[in-house]
Amino acid sequence: MSGTHVLAMIVEDKPGVMTRIADMFRRKLVNIDTITVGKTRVPGLSRIVITLECDEDFARYVVKLLRKTVDVLYVEELQPSKSILRELALVKVEVDETQEKLELLQLVNIFRGGIVDVSESTITAQVVGDPSKVDAFIKLCRRFKIIELARTGIVAMSRGPKTMLPDELAEKFVEEEP
């Protein structure tokens, strides 16, 4: 059964790693829906979170393929129910009338977002949250004229004390000269 799968991994932070990972998905004819990359608590190591639409068998298979890839220290599929998933969106809306502006401000407040930029004819709102919350906010914004939309893609982490990068793993890693 097809569904959204969230894969999180710890990789070495160097050129070519992203290519190798992205290329693997292309070769298996699957599209990456979102991808986020950022540094971890350990210098030289990055965290990548990828979401994709696929069936469960394929997700399991991809985890195995990623796991054997050089430069990938750790991979796991995160269960959304046991994880924190967050995304940030910037929505630039064209608004002329005061009434429209008030309605938009109300919407932003309900979603605990913020107004990050204002011009004579536009308002740019920011919203952060679970991807479904971001989806809902954007959907409601569509009654205004959205002229630009930027989403970060999903960052994710499991709930509770579990960590993907425990000291044992961090210690194995030897940072090379950049």
Partner: protein
């Protein structure tokens, strides 16, 4: 002060490199300058594709990484087919390519190409060197990655300024750490081994299916011990050929689209399959309908991503083949023995199923292979081209030891056989090395005849010469209503003269006795020899299971 080239050579020496196959060019010249006095033997090939295949043949014959070297740009891109061939058959090839100076990378400089990007999907890893100081570590890592876990090719891209750059202090690491499980050799889960042992004992019709992983792992003695201990038959994939002696009463030979009838029938009938070091490729198990519902499958593989990829597996054992089989042997020894008279008798019967017919028209490839087997020493190494010649060799030339049958299985690269034989001969100068080729295959890499003549590498090439792209022709005859298109190669070249033009020996034989004599003379001489064996263009490889067909639909002639 040592230069990057000096450091590269020292690092290669420390990895045990004694031979290299390559062609120099502008962007690798500083390295070649230092190679001259390095003590590393350099085999000058006549095309980089051949250099990569030679390094591959070297690696497969020896079980250690083979090194090939080319310049940047076209030299590097000519490597691509060879690297892909090694990748598909999990062969530890290390490819060293020249590159334009670091500051010119990305500027479309002369003979600049992004070879790291190009080879990403066909290597276990591709390194871009950017500093002199990292050479020792990168080389150590490259050889480590190529040969650890499931083996595979690794590329090192070596910019010209890094070859020339000098540093005062160099350190050669004794060990390196590589992330990713691709370099691990996991130990078997003993609980799974215990279950596997019980399943083996419970089964009425168990069979072992062995692939190339058994050869990489050096697990042939364990396969044989387990087979004999339990009295169970062994079938192999093309890549597994040689894992068990093919004259052994329990060995039924190769399965697959062109598999032996007996081997295919035994696998189809089995109720338990112990698959070791095989990825269940479509050419091997495609024709088996419901393989995983007719039999319980125990899949032993070092690469966990192979488990369940092509065939559903009931009991995975992610481990090195040798270690897993050793554990399995210990486990079955603790269980009461079981006799399976009916299955053993059936296997004996299946072993007799052979397809050797002779209508008297021209020389028969299968007879040529049988004669070859009688003439060659038991430990001779055979390499093959791709197509009919490859299947005739696989079906009718029995091999008795691992690493004596070298063929491009996964990629099916025509032109592989001859340069691979050069690599095998350099790796094992003590052995007789014969390439069984087709006329089409041989013409793709025959320029390397110059190499074997100049550098005195006495290999023998046996061309099964049907003046056609025989396998395509066979498919056109059987599956495209005999509409022959683009398969007739015409009456050129004269292979006898071609060989002689290069300074090699060339012989065209007219009958079996002449072939026997020519082969016998060739393998006992120091001169590389090409033996041209004319066969009818209409000769076909049987059995053949039509594409998409089932085992029961095998065409036998």
């Amino acid at each position: 002060m040592p230069s990057g080239s000096d450091i590269m050579i020292e690092a290669l020496r420390r990895e045990g490199v004694k031979d290299a196959f390559g062609i120099p060019g502008g962007a690798i010249m500083p390295f070649y300058d230092r190679l001259k006095d390095s003590g590393i033997r350099h085999i000058l090939m006549r095309h980089e594709q051949g250099a990569a295949h030679a390094a591959d043949g070297y690696a497969r014959a020896l079980g250690r990484p083979g090194l090939c070297i080319a310049t940047s740009g076209p030299g590097a891109t000519n490597f691509v087919t060879g690297i892909a061939t090694a990748y598909m058959d999990s062969s530890p090839v290390v490819a060293l390519t020249g590159q334009v100076p670091v500051k010119l990378i990305g500027r479309d400089s002369f003979q600049e190409i992004d070879i790291v990007g190009i080879t990403n999907p066909i290597t276990k890893y591709a390194f871009q060197l950017k500093r002199v100081s990292e050479i020792p570590r990168v080389v150590k890592k490259a050889f480590y990655i190529a040969s650890h876990g499931r083996p595979g090719p690794v590329l090192i891209d070596f910019p010209r300024d890094i070859q020339l750059g000098e540093i005062e202090h160099v350190e050669y690491p004794e060990r390196v750490w590589v992330s990713g499980r691709g370099v691990h050799l996991p130990s078997p889960d003993m609980k799974a081994v215990g279950t596997a042992a019980i399943w083996l004992m419970e089964a009425e019709k168990p069979i072992m299916l062995v692939g190339g992983g058994v050869i990489h792992s050096g697990a042939s003695p364990q396969v044989l011990e387990l087979a004999e201990l339990l009295n169970i038959p062994v079938v192999t994939t093309l890549m597994g050929k040689g894992a068990v002696p093919e004259n052994h009463p329990l060995c039924l030979g190769m399965i697959g689209m062109h598999g032996k009838l007996g081997a295919n029938m035994a696998l189809a009938e089995a109720d338990l399959i112990l698959a070791v070091g095989t990825r269940f490729s479509d050419r091997s198990v495609g024709p088996f309908e419901d393989l995983d519902s007719n039999a319980r499958i125990i899949h032993v593989d070092v690469d966990e991503s192979e488990i369940g990829k092509n065939v559903r597996c009931h009991l995975p054992i992610v481990a090195d083949a040798k270690e897993a089989l050793e554990a399995l042997i210990d486990a079955v020894k603790t269980l009461p023995p079981k006799s399976r008279t009916a299955w053993v008798e059936k296997v004996k019967e299946l072993r007799e199923t052979a397809l050797e017919s002779d209508d008297g028209k021209g020389m028969k490839p299968w007879k040529v292979m049988k004669i070859m087997r009688r003439v060659l020493p038991k430990d001779a190494i055979i390499t093959t081209g791709v197509g009919q010649n490859q299947m005739w060799a696989a079906l009718h030339f029995d091999v008795y030891a691992p690493r004596t049958f070298i063929s491009s299985g996964g990629l099916g690269t025509m032109g592989f056989g001859f340069p691979a034989s050069i690599g095998a001969k350099v790796a094992r100068p003590d052995r007789t090395v014969v390439c069984v080729d087709g006329d089409g295959s041989f013409l793709m890499t025959c320029q390397n005849l110059a190499t074997v003549v100049v550098q005195n590498i006495p290999v023998t090439v046996v061309i099964l010469d049907n003046r056609a792209l025989g396998m395509v022709r066979q498919w056109q005859e059987l599956f495209f209503n005999k509409r022959f298109v683009a398969v007739d190669l015409g009456q050129t070249p004269d292979f006898e003269k071609l060989a002689k033009a290069f300074g090699a020996e060339g012989v065209r034989v007219g009958d079996y006795e002449e072939f026997r004599e020519a082969l016998s003379k060739a393998i006992n001489s120091d001169v590389p020899t090409v033996i041209d064996v004319p066969i009818e263009p209409s000769e076909k490889v049987f059995p053949i299971i039509p594409p998409g067909g089932k085992v029961s639909e095998a065409i036998t002639g």
